[in-house]
Subunit: 260 residues, 2 copies
Amino acid sequence: MATGRTHRPATRSRGIPEATVARLPLYLRALTALSERSVPTVSSEELAAAAGVNSAKLRKDFSYLGSYGTRGVGYDVEYLVYQISRELGLTQDWPIVMVGIGNLGAALANYGGFASRGFRVAALIDADPSMVGRPVAGMPVQFIDDLEKIVDENGVSIGVIATPAGAAQQVCDRLVAAGVTSILNFAPTVLSVPDGVDVRKVDLSIELQILAFHEQRKAGEEPGAGAEAVLPPVVRDAGAAAAAEGRKGPDGDMPAVMPA
Amino acid sequence: MATGRTHRPATRSRGIPEATVARLPLYLRALTALSERSVPTVSSEELAAAAGVNSAKLRKDFSYLGSYGTRGVGYDVEYLVYQISRELGLTQDWPIVMVGIGNLGAALANYGGFASRGFRVAALIDADPSMVGRPVAGMPVQFIDDLEKIVDENGVSIGVIATPAGAAQQVCDRLVAAGVTSILNFAPTVLSVPDGVDVRKVDLSIELQILAFHEQRKAGEEPGAGAEAVLPPVVRDAGAAAAAEGRKGPDGDMPAVMPA
DNA sequence: GAATGTGAAGATTTTCACAGCG
DNA sequence: CGCTGTGAAAATCTTCACATTC
């Protein structure tokens, strides 16, 4: 590959801010729920509440798409569903392949929300020969040797990686070489891809760690607030570390001994 | 509840920017890998590459934690592992409960990365009586009626929701009432929680939709670049919409007929 | 009157670039 | 000299507040 490396720093998507794009699916879901209840129109205030954002942000977001509302009235639900779907590319059919049909992969394959809304699981692929042929979510698992063929024949451009961390980069390389240009990565690894390939990662343990950070904060804060008794969790044996000389932390203090 | 509502807008965590907090787990993982390979020190450049960020960002992030590096040398791997772990609150033991042991819940329970690094699955809970007692990930599923008791007895402050969307808010309310103050939500719903409770959401289909957006972009762009043949996906029947009057989209044009 | 659409202000995040220390 | 730590600039994102339109 010539210029290829990680990330895509500049290529901003035709004016629509990334932060807005990330919220469009939220709006779409809220709108779909309204649509199913046959609600004809909705105000920015109501829709924002349903989507869990504030109304100014929602209106700003929509302003990037165009003027789809009516002043004094609100937004036409069906119309907006269509416009956002179109913007997100969900009026097309996106065949996807899932690689790595372990616990998580199988759960994802069975997950309904996956299959809905324009995405179609074209194939499930695994490297374990004993998995091959076994039906998961009503579809036989295929062997990884056929990955390139499967991608090619189905015109797949989106791949989902749910393999163990060790296999992820290799699988990723093969997917990319076969023509996949978007990857959703569930393996706890940083994937390196050439320019022009998008990677999104979903990492369960990272989310938990972020929560733990905030949770820790709460424990040391206002002892009256919060819900019920927030009993401070037991302090574990405290991992490992090297010898410190003249380090300064923002707390000022640090543990006198850092265990190895 | 008195003031309670959604989100927590102001309460910035003791100076460390949220964006930085979100990256600390990434650094930690990269550092842990280095540690296992017994690498003693690492430069911001190397570590940044391993974590998939750029080095200026990494150094800035670390500067919020304190001066933990050595100029001309780099960072002591073990020391940094310890400092970041501590900052994230991972030197404590966090008992968590998982509610909703369906496909996804079971997969999560089995997911190793969940149990590692300070998190301990204290209980698996489900509302389906036929699940109760069944062992999942070597642990018997408990009935949802005991939720409050389980949370209380184990001092749980972090809950994971992997129920169907319809049950999520109800489960959330019970968790919060029982004393849980951080929630990781896998159900495709916006959860409403009182102030002081953190919610993080992981949504598989949203991630896919964001990828689809970028994928759609690529198709309409430079037809030479990208990998191999990017065959444009088949256009589906195009969902639903209302009649349009004088709307203007940023493209100027829009479909003449919008199917209902 | 009601609610959108949006400039402008404010806040946060990223990047630059280099002073300062080992 | 090499690499960290960090002010300052740039970019991005959020919020305000109100003119505009139905």
